[in-house]
């Protein structure tokens, strides 16, 4: 294959990574923006989405598309409910203290991963894609499902944007983000907003997990890389800024696709993690972020 098509393939792979990453990272960013909570268990929610997709696929008979549709609905709801319970039982009692919540979500991460290991096992399991067709380009064939993932992520992110900027619930959420005390003085139930935000963030991660699982198998440790990449995206995009997060997801996803196609992936990761550390040290508001 010549260089041009090869680069095209790398960019397309990068676009899929970027789409999934944008979903997962927007959840993380939303939770940090509104609640000032760094959710280390975010990767675990993503993994749970993927594992639940496998569970649903095993129990829903008939065509693969049917099971996949069911998973798209069930997994985010279940994970969202789990997150809401976590918020009520743990985070709220810690008064959303930033450092204590990080320690608690680290604990949660271990508990979810190990519980999954016990119940689901150490194996990686595939889930069948809802449809199988290939787009034949002049140089190579490409999976239609991967393009569907990009499309689906765009639809969800547009819906998320509309929800935040165009609905009353979104307005309440933004009001809480700007000033928790004033919001509560205006009769907003801050506890409920927080619970809803945490559930929404976890649901987005689970949705990303369901979308990725036909491409990448479900495994109990799959959340680690996504968590790290989401951190990178959220920090480079500016903590809590959703627009910055999306731009950063695109940049990181595409460059990940290109770099890991042409260079050693480990080296790319080393550079990315160091870059993030430097951004936090020297430009805490992020590279693209409007000041929070």
């Amino acid at each position: 294959m010549a260089f041009g098509p090869f680069l095209l393939l790398a960019l397309m792979e990068g676009l899929v990574t970027a789409a999934v990453l944008a979903l997962a990272a927007s959840g993380l960013s939303l939770v940090f923006g509104v609640m000032r909570v760094v959710n280390v268990a975010h990767g675990a929610f993503y993994m749970l989405g993927a594992v639940l997709a496998w569970v649903v696929a095993a129990h829903v008979p008939g065509h693969a598309a049917l099971a996949f549709m069911a998973a798209l609905i069930v997994a985010p709801l279940v994970v969202g409910a789990l997150a809401a319970a976590t918020d009520g039982l743990i985070l709220k009692r810690l008064n959303y203290d930033p450092e204590a919540t990080i320690v608690a979500t680290i604990g949660l991460l271990y508990m979810i991963e190990q519980a999954t290991l016990s119940l689901y096992g150490p194996n990686a399991n595939p889930v069948q894609a809802p449809f199988e067709w290939r787009i034949q380009l002049p140089w190579f064939g490409y999976s239609g499902y991967k393009l569907f993932v990009v499309f689906a992520a765009c639809v969800v992110l547009l819906a998320l944007w509309a929800f935040i900027t165009r609905t009353k619930a979104g307005l309440i959420m933004r009001a809480t983000q700007v000033d928790r005390t004033t919001a509560s003085a205006f009769g907003i139930n801050v506890d409920r907003v927080y619970m809803g935000t945490f559930a929404l963030g976890a649901g987005l991660a689970a949705l990303a997990g369901v979308l990725i699982v036909p491409i990448q198998q479900a495994h109990y440790l799959m959340g680690g890389d996504t968590l790290l990449l989401s951190f990178i995206v959220v920090i480079i995009g500016g903590l809590g800024s959703l627009r910055g997060t999306l731009i950063a997801a695109l940049v990181i996803g595409l460059s990940d696709g290109v770099i890991s196609m042409f260079f050693a992936p480990t080296l790319a990761k080393i550079l990315a993690t160091l870059l993030v550390a430097m951004v936090l040290v020297f430009r805490p508001q992020g590279l693209f972020g409007a000041k929070a």
Binding site: V38, R93, E99, I102, V103, M111, F231, V276, V281
Partner: protein, 310 residues
């Protein structure tokens, strides 16, 4: 006086323990003491100075690989290798601190986490030298100290005990010194101590560097006493563990790290017979501690009963 007596009694009890315990448990106790040195270092940064780092695995790894590689490549014996490892931990901590201490709170946690992750990946990247995921075992020749073979039970136990005792007494002297008070002042109210004329950055950098010396010594000792160096010791899990030990035993108490390490070790030992998912306990312990006992065991005891506990 009472305080020093308590610590000397603790060391004496540990000394006596090896005559009472089976060889298997003696080895475990040696391991616990080395991990406790690591946790004591973490405690100086987190418990006393208030620096919640998520990257101490990098400092442990710096000590471990500096000692292991200098023994492997240049044939250092245990004594020099331990010194090299200790210094490496301190230098690494100072380097990380120079950058990371420009941030605070959540940013500090994430920056240290990212540095540690970069360190772990670097070790994987240089797999031909470091052995990558598999690591390497140390040759018997480099595991001798003043004629004693550190791979046998008794010398190993004494070496671990000596290091632990030194670490414990130094940390006790440190936290009771004027500098120790300044460290606590940074934890309690950084702005007020700045107003009083202290330089918070310098104090925190010094505390982190001392913490790194402890972590480096622990890493080097682990490599030399147990003969294995591997990338798994630089994963995030080894950043979480000292935090867990310190939270369990009591942050800001001198004996807390040992207590936490011993209890957690026993708990995991008991659980690993029942299930492979013993890390579940680590997670559960973190959540329970942060919810119900944020001061840990000795912290609670100090608050309720023994006000003089250091």
């Amino acid at each position: 006086m009472k305080v020093w007596a308590l610590h000397l009694v603790l060391i004496a009890v540990l000394f006596a323990a090896q005559f009472l315990l089976s060889p298997y448990h003696t080895t475990n106790l040696a391991r616990i003491m080395v991990l406790a040195v690591f946790a004591m270092g973490y405690n100086l940064a987190f418990g006393y100075t208030g620096l919640l780092s998520l990257g101490h695995a990098l400092l442990l790894g710096a000590g471990m690989y500096a000692a292991g590689l200098s023994a492997q490549l240049w044939g250092f014996s245990a004594g020099p290798a331990l010194i090299v490892g200790t210094v490496a931990g301190g230098v690494m901590a100072a380097a990380v601190g120079l950058l990371a201490l420009r941030t605070a709170g959540v940013s500090f946690m994430i920056v240290t986490l990212m540095f540690a992750q970069a360190g772990y990946l670097t070790i994987l990247y240089f797999a031909p030298t470091t052995g990558g995921d598999e690591g390497f075992t140390l040759a018997a020749a480099s595991r001798t100290f003043a004629g004693f073979d550190l791979s046998t039970d008794t010398p190993r136990f004494f070496a671990a005990l000596a290091l632990f005792a030194l670490g414990l007494l130094v940390s006790l002297a440190l936290v009771r010194s004027p500098f120790g008070r300044t460290m606590v002042a940074m934890r309690e109210n950084e702005e007020r101590s700045r107003m009083l004329g202290y330089n918070p950055f310098a104090v925190k950098l010094a505390a982190l560097t001392i913490s790194g010396l402890y972590a480096g010594a622990a890493g080097a000792a682990y490599a030399l006493l147990f003969g294995y160096v591997g990338a798994s010791f630089t994963t995030i899990q080894y950043s979480i563990l000292p935090m867990l030990y310190v939270l369990l035993g009591g942050a800001g108490t001198t004996i807390g790290p040992l207590l936490g390490a011993a209890l957690m070790f026993a708990l995991i030992e008991a659980a690993s017979g029942l299930t492979t998912a013993y890390l579940f306990l680590v997670g559960l312990a973190l959540v329970v501690l942060v919810l119900f006992a944020p001061k840990g065991i000795l912290g609670t005891i100090r608050e309720r009963w023994l006000k003089w506990l250091p």
